[in-house]
């Protein structure tokens, strides 16, 4: 096991390097942000050239990559071009908590809803419940989030009003301006209202796929011989499901959960954009389309490295919860 982990960790290094190079190569296609400054008569040409040189835009992209990479190794992740005056790290550090809050709540909520539903749906395979659950899971999985988001916004912010005439739920943002200094509970209730729609929109689609995973994993287990043995020797059905079947059915789910954790950090670009949430997803999209490659690269590297690390964690957890699996 120890050798296995060491080998895997070493194997991660080339993987991360390839990811970095591919991402950087794609960003290098985004036009040079300083070239556009030439149009501005108030900026001196020499200044522009100095900027281009300082940023390495006079070099071909692979040399610029090394320039950026040596900085990263030294801990200097570069300044943000999108928010002048801030470093890429600060910009990311501001967006990260916002995203983790939305995505974390969404993640826990959808697991809490989806796993029991998936289990019931599998235990009562081909029942009406099962069909209803299946249809709803597919509805969730096929729902374009951008459309669902807009429809929710129409419902809760345009059509449904409070008695005072204000929309039932705020259409976007993360908190009401001016409430920064309010007492904790006021702030809590206020920010909760901003979370309802984005969390619902995101959860609807992930509940769909989690339910499907849980259902198929459970179905696979209840067909097996040892479940029949347990039933034959008279173990009560509740125990058969909750103890014998569920424990094994959860093994693949645990790995899937581990694999999905990096998504909490990556954010959801479209939903964040619709609801005007200043999180990682919308930040990365804004940074990369406006040539702010230091910010975009830091954001992307953060998620990709987490994906790679959690892949390893998933494999280790897999061996830990399932003694049948041995890595040599």
């Amino acid at each position: 096991m120890r050798d296995y982990v060491i080998r895997r960790v070493l194997g991660m290094i080339p993987l991360i390097l390839i990811v970095m190079i591919v991402a950087f190569a794609i960003f290098s296609l985004v036009p040079n942000p300083f070239a556009a400054l030439i149009e501005n008569p108030r900026i001196k040409k020499a200044d522009i050239e100095r900027l281009i040189k300082a940023w390495g835009f006079d070099l071909p992209w692979y040399l610029r990559f090394f320039k950026w990479f040596s900085g990263v190794i030294k801990g200097d992740w570069g300044p943000s071009l999108l928010y002048p005056g801030s470093s890429a790290r600060d910009v990311i550090a501001r967006a990260l908590p916002v995203t983790i809050r939305v995505m974390g709540i969404e993640f826990l909520l959808s697991l809490l809803i989806a796993l029991p539903i998936g289990i019931i749906s599998a235990v009562k395979q081909y029942s009406v419940t099962d069909y209803v659950v299946t249809v709803f899971s597919f509805l969730g999985m096929s729902m374009p989030t951008f459309w669902f988001g807009l429809m929710m916004m129409m419902l809760f912010s345009v059509f449904l009003k409070r008695p005072s005439g204000a929309p039932l739920l705020p259409a976007g943002g993360i908190m009401t301006p001016g409430l920064e200094e309010a007492p904790f509970w006021t702030r809590f209730v206020d920010q909760l209202q901003y979370l309802v729609m984005p969390v619902l929109v995101l959860a609807f689609s992930s509940v769909g796929s989690w339910t499907r995973y849980m259902r198929s994993s459970m179905l696979e287990v209840v067909r097996q011989d040892y479940i029949r043995t347990a039933r034959a020797k008279g173990v009560p059905e509740r125990l058969v499901i909750n103890k014998h079947a569920l424990r094994n059915a959860l093994i693949p789910i645990v790995t899937l959960v581990a694999l999905s954790v990096p998504g909490i950090v990556g954010g959801a670009s479209i939903t964040e954009k619709i609801f005007n949430i200043p999180g990682m997803g919308s930040l990365i999209i804004a940074a990369e389309t406006k040539s702010d490659y230091p910010t975009a690269m830091v954001g992307l590297m953060l998620t990709s490295v987490l994906v790679i690390v959690f892949n390893l964690i998933a494999d280790i957890v897999y061996a830990w919860v399932d003694p049948r699996i041995k890595y040599s």
């Binding site: 993987l15 390839i18 990811v19 296609l29 479209i270 389309t289 990709s304 994906v307 790679i308």
Partner: protein, 298 residues
Amino acid sequence: MAEQAVAAEKKKRSSDDYSYVGMVFHRLTRHKLAMAGAVMLILMMLFVFVGPLVWRADPNEQIPGLEGMFNPPSQAHPLGTDDYGRDVLARMFFGGRISLFIGFISAVSATLIGAFIGLLAGYYGGWADNLLMRFTDAMLSIPTFPLLIALASVMGKGMWQIIMVIVVFGWMSDARLVRGLALSLKEQEYVEAARAIGASANRIMWRHLFPNTLAVLIVSTTIGIGSSIIYEASISFLGFGIQAPLASWGNMLQNAQQFIWNAPRLIVYPGLAIFITVLGFNFFGDGLRDAIDPKLKL
């Protein structure tokens, strides 16, 4: 008498009477959700391809002036008009053609590229396998959506560019799938026999291994069309996809978003169309997978 009827019924239904394709088709027709998906898809195709023959309006003809804008549904414009006074129904037809075309072409190309890489890696093994699969792993670790948008924002806004962008980030799961299948298939005796009579590696890969992965690939393409349509719509929704005046469901939605307060119904149509189409492909793909092999994991 009753027994005879049962026996006759059995004979009629017996899988032995069917070829492989016939058997899969038979199982598919008994799958309720797959049939629901098929009906949705057929209706959508009729809407998009036959619709314009029935309702002959020009999707780009504008009614100038304020009276043309945001007309509610009427006899002249069954779904009303948009901000330029264009007929929304006609734009739905032509936008749907673009969305379906992009979805179909990009899913098929991604599957073929994935199959090619997977076959090479699985058949040759060794360093080729290592190299190709490490690259596949790396591509899978990259958060797809942000890079998709980055690429789309620099590639230009044409239909073929968008197809390319979707393909670049869409082949990896098929590559893994086919590699796995190729690894087990190449150990089978008929492959050894083919090698013994001197078949070239290319011939073995494409004539002997590839056809055996086809069933699985058809399922993954069907589901892939749905997600490609969503990708196209997301790219267009963020403004990097198909550009006006050409319509796609995604850019109609993006356009309608600004007018959520004055014409909310403009948001409903294109989104509903995307939703029904994707749902149809998912239902149908799921049924197809069950019909081909219920144990298959995709």
